[in-house]
């Protein structure tokens, strides 16, 4: 295994271990997403046909709000006892720290999302089963986009006075193309339209978004964290 990969996995394991000891971020995002799912039932008639047309959008709204909760803390939690300085001075590339943190966040988010998806299916009579694998693919790609942007901006705003305000102002506009693509694809898939034709364009937008921003984040993370 290359040293870079080993460093990445070490960081990811460290983050996951400390998260699963307290389950702080996990519990927060999970309960938050369930509460939002319940609240949506008051905003729309959950039994109507209209529900099918907007289900993909609702699901991704839940995901993006829930992700903000855990991504916010990704770098901020290293501020206590100057852990961030210790991490940066460790003899590993900053990109490895970033990638490790992103992988840990990704794993956590996917867990939250799978649970939320099950709750969604139970409460809102949506039909995942027919297109389960394509939907999971879209979730995997969309979540990676959210994770990369969220983790990068978590590092960028870590030392700011108004971190909690700045993060959403910067992150959500950046996420627009990814969320737009993921929402369109998920809605289509839930309505029984298979992947292919027009949909492939959106899949391409989503994949391109993930690829470009992973690359950009790996290049720029050094400047963001160290300077």
């Amino acid at each position: 295994m290359s040293p870079f990969l080993r460093a990445t996995l070490t960081i990811a394991a460290k983050d996951l271990r400390s998260e699963f000891r307290t389950k702080e971020a996990f519990n927060a995002s999970l309960s938050f997403s369930v509460v939002i799912l319940v609240l949506f039932s008051f905003a729309f008639d959950p039994t109507s046909e209209q529900m099918q047309a907007i289900s993909g959008g609702l699901l991704w709204l839940v995901f993006s709000f829930a992700s903000a909760l855990s991504l916010n803390r990704s770098f901020a939690r290293e501020l206590q006892n100057d852990c961030l300085d210790a991490l940066v001075s460790a003899p590993i590339p900053v990109a490895a720290i970033f990638l490790g943190k992103a992988l840990a966040n990704y794993f956590l988010l996917i867990l939250v999302e799978i649970t939320a998806l099950a709750v969604f299916a139970l409460f809102y009579d949506t039909h995942f089963a027919a297109q389960l694998w394509p939907i999971l693919l879209v979730i995997a790609l969309g979540t990676w986009g959210m994770t990369v942007i969220g983790t990068t901006f978590s590092a960028l705003t870590v030392n700011l006075r108004m971190r909690e305000v700045m993060l959403p102002t910067l992150v959500y506009p950046m996420l627009v193309p990814a969320l737009m693509a993921a929402m369109t694809l998920t809605t289509d898939l839930m309505n029984g339209i298979p992947l292919g034709g027009d949909n492939l364009l959106w899949l391409r937008v989503l994949t391109g978004f993930d690829f470009i921003y992973t690359l950009l984040a790996m290049v720029f993370i050094d400047i963001v964290v160290v300077g």
């Binding site: 030392n159 102002t169 506009p173 193309p177 364009l201 959106w202 937008v205 950009l216 300077g227």
Partner: protein
């Protein structure tokens, strides 16, 4: 020297604007479907040209800052982004007023409009971020990264609108598809663009002078602390 350039630019843009407005209101014929309101295009399109030119210049300046670490480029990028944001606001305002008459609604949630709004939000985030950081090099570094990320994002959004249905009028300028406007009706757009560019340059110069004053204040303060 700089003052003289500013006076020359101011005279030039005032003269151009006066001549253009005279031509637009007094000489140009009416468009047969839209009535007088089509004249908004002479503000709308030059503003978006100016705004986007500015955002690309800001991207270049941010990249130059990251390469050279010279705060001069950072001041330039900040000034250009802020002025371009003002022109982007003009685009949104004039577009909404035109849409109120032609489409019957203030905001059509059309793809092109959404792109422009996302663009506005991203650069608004940039300006907000700059206000949240006090330390000059940290501010320069982080906002340069946001500028690069934001510009890439806008390119992705811009590409994806071509795949979304749009009710925005297709580009009617001859540079794009051989000309859809009547003879003599297109040139005021370019002349206004020139006038707006002169105006934008003056604003950028004023804004940059402010940046250098605030740098001077910073260094004087540091001297005061050194005693």
């Amino acid at each position: 020297m700089r003052d003289r350039i500013m006076y020359v630019l101011a005279t030039l843009s005032a003269a151009l604007l006066t001549w253009n407005l005279y031509k637009i209101f007094m000489i140009l014929p009416d468009e047969k479907n839209q009535g007088a309101i089509y004249r908004i295009v002479y503000m709308h399109v030059p503003s978006i040209f100016t705004g986007f030119t500015g955002f690309f210049v800001a991207l270049a300046a941010s990249a130059l800052y990251l390469i050279t670490k010279d705060l001069k480029y950072d001041a330039f990028a900040a000034a250009v982004t802020e002025v371009s944001l003002a022109f982007a606001s003009i685009v949104l305002a004039t577009g909404m007023i035109w849409g109120r008459i032609i489409w019957g609604i203030w905001w059509a949630w059309d793809a092109r409009l959404t792109t422009m709004l996302v663009c506005w939000l991203i650069y608004f985030g940039y300006v907000m971020l700059r206000r949240a950081i006090d330390e000059p090099t940290q501010r320069a570094r982080l906002s340069a990264v946001v500028s690069v990320f934001g510009c890439v994002d806008i390119m992705i959004v811009y590409k994806s609108i071509e795949w979304w249905r749009t009710q925005h009028p297709a580009p009617v300028l001859s540079v794009r598809d051989g000309g859809g406007m009547g003879p003599g009706m297109e040139s005021p757009i370019y002349w206004n663009w020139l006038a707006f560019m002169c105006l934008a340059s003056i604003l950028v110069m004023v804004r940059m002078r402010q940046e250098s004053i605030s740098r001077e204040i910073d260094s004087l303060r540091r001297m005061a602390h050194a005693y």
